[in-house]
């Protein structure tokens, strides 16, 4: 082998970069977050259902919020008919979503920290009180 020292340094950097997530985790299991649903508002519900189907909410709530925003801000439609059970909801991030999910920290943020997303919505929209105090 020629210039082996230099080549080994290069290969070490290569291996470090690609195995970084493995070395970082050090083989210790990390459980996925379980968003908490134990808010007063949800406990009051007889039929514990979100605005739409749970799987849809879990995967697509950000697109759904975007859709709601467009409905409210661009089309001035402030009520939404759920396709799940035909219930009517006020289109509002603060007063609808966050009324049921008033535990922002244990609900929204538990997933968001895990997935490393920081929705910038709260630059303008107001977080539920409980979450704010504990922040």
């Amino acid at each position: 082998m020629y210039d082996l020292n230099k080549i080994l340094v290069g290969l070490a950097i290569f291996l470090l970069f690609f195995t970084f997530p493995i070395l970082y985790g050090m083989g210790s299991a990390v459980p996925a977050p379980k968003p908490k649903l134990d808010t007063p508002e949800i406990q009051k519900l007889t039929d514990k259902k979100c605005v739409e189907d749970t799987h849809f909410m879990r995967t697509s709530h950000m697109q759904f919020l975007n859709y709601w925003r467009d409905k409210a801000v661009r089309e001035d439609q402030r009520t939404y008919d759920s396709k799940l059970n035909g219930k009517k909801y006020d289109i509002s991030l603060q007063n609808t979503c966050m009324k049921c999910h008033s535990n922002k920290k244990d609900f929204c943020d538990s997933c968001h920290t895990y997935a490393s997303v920081k929705p910038y919505c709260w630059d303008c929209h107001i977080e539920p009180k409980a979450a704010k105090e504990s922040m």
């Binding site: 020629y2 210039d3 290969l11 690609f18 195995t19 210790s28 975007n66 490393s116 997303v117």
Partner: protein, 329 residues
């Protein structure tokens, strides 16, 4: 021919993954065993390939350079293009690896009203640069799905990539750049007859594969949403050797993973090894010091030499008699 074949293989992988994703047992193969096998192949294959190259002797310096070599003091040396020292070489390698300096010099030959003319052609360089840098940012961004807690620099990459805050989830700039660049690199092979004539399946296949990876990734982010939290638990499970497989993961995720696994496993045996190869390019990484340092050819057999000194010692008297000048009396 190469086009249909490569596209066919990529589509076959997609179909196989889509079918496999319908069965829980095969999901385990696609989502856990395949990535492990592919990643191991990638690491071992890459290292093997580089060590194989390291066995090639480097008998002397190959100065195919674009500048004046080190010479007399009053001749200006092109220190970056024709370095004779280590810092110079590091500089040249830096510009080569990070900015594709050689490709920047790419020219294009064209027949214009019967004359062959050469002109600059920077498009390939531009899109190659866009492609590679986007790929790098995308790779680093993906660390957020493998690591918990997510390190700050990964969050920073993510933040900067989505800085335009278009839509929710925000549009990533690199998604746009990467896809455009791939389409350019493919289009170049489709449309330019000169390039098409020397394109092989080995050229089309990686491009289609990368396009497939980009398309499935973009679909998952913006159009066929998947459960990111569930997916992260799979990927963290892979990285920590505690594999898990939650229910309700969209089939498209398995297509994405099958594509990426194919890319990883194919990598060490393909032209994509230029990732390692660029660092081992003899015309880039060797200082042009042919005339300053003695480079011994490593495969030289011992040559029986007869120096002039020895020759003169042997024949001095005869030379003197014949009136031939000698160095030592």
């Amino acid at each position: 021919m190469g086009i249909q074949f490569s596209l066919g293989v990529v589509l076959a992988i997609a179909v196989a993954a889509l079918v496999g994703a319908q069965v829980k047992g095969l999901q385990y193969v696609l989502g856990i065993l395949l990535p492990y096998a592919a990643f191991a192949t990638f690491l071992v294959g890459f290292v093997w390939r580089v060590l194989y190259w390291a066995k090639s002797p480097v008998p002397f310096r190959i100065p195919t350079t674009a500048g004046q070599e080190f010479s007399l003091p009053w001749i200006k040396q092109a220190k970056l293009d024709n370095p004779s020292t280590l810092p110079g070489v590091l500089g040249r390698m830096f510009f080569e690896v990070f900015l594709f300096r050689s490709l920047f010099r790419n020219t294009k030959a064209e027949l214009r009203s019967g004359n062959l003319v050469y002109g600059p052609s920077k498009w390939l360089w531009l899109f190659a640069l866009l492609f590679h840098w986007s790929f790098f940012v995308i790779a680093v961004r993906h660390f957020r799905l493998f690591m918990e807690p997510v390190p700050g620099f990964v969050q920073l990459f993510d933040h900067l990539d989505g800085i335009l805050q278009v839509g929710a989830p925000p549009l990533y700039l690199t998604d746009v750049f990467f896809t455009l660049a791939i389409l350019f690199l493919l289009g170049r092979r489709f449309l330019d007859a000169k390039v098409r004539s020397l394109s092989l399946p080995a050229d089309y296949f990686p491009l289609f594969l990368l396009l497939g990876i980009a398309v499935t990734g973009i679909l998952m982010r913006f159009f066929v949403r998947v459960d990111i939290v569930g997916i992260k638990s799979i990927l963290v499970g892979l990285a920590t050797f505690h594999p898990t497989l939650p229910d309700g993961i969209g089939a498209i995720f398995f297509v994405h993973v099958a594509f990426v696994s194919t890319l990883l496993a194919y990598f060490p045996f393909s032209k994509l090894m230029h990732f390692g190869g660029v660092f081992l390019s003899p015309t880039r990484n060797l200082a042009n010091n042919n005339r300053m340092v003695r480079h011994v050819n490593p495969w030289n057999y011992p040559v029986k030499v007869h120096t002039y000194e020895a020759y003169e010692n042997e024949f001095r008297d005869i030379m003197k008699d014949a009136g031939i000048p000698v160095e030592k009396e």
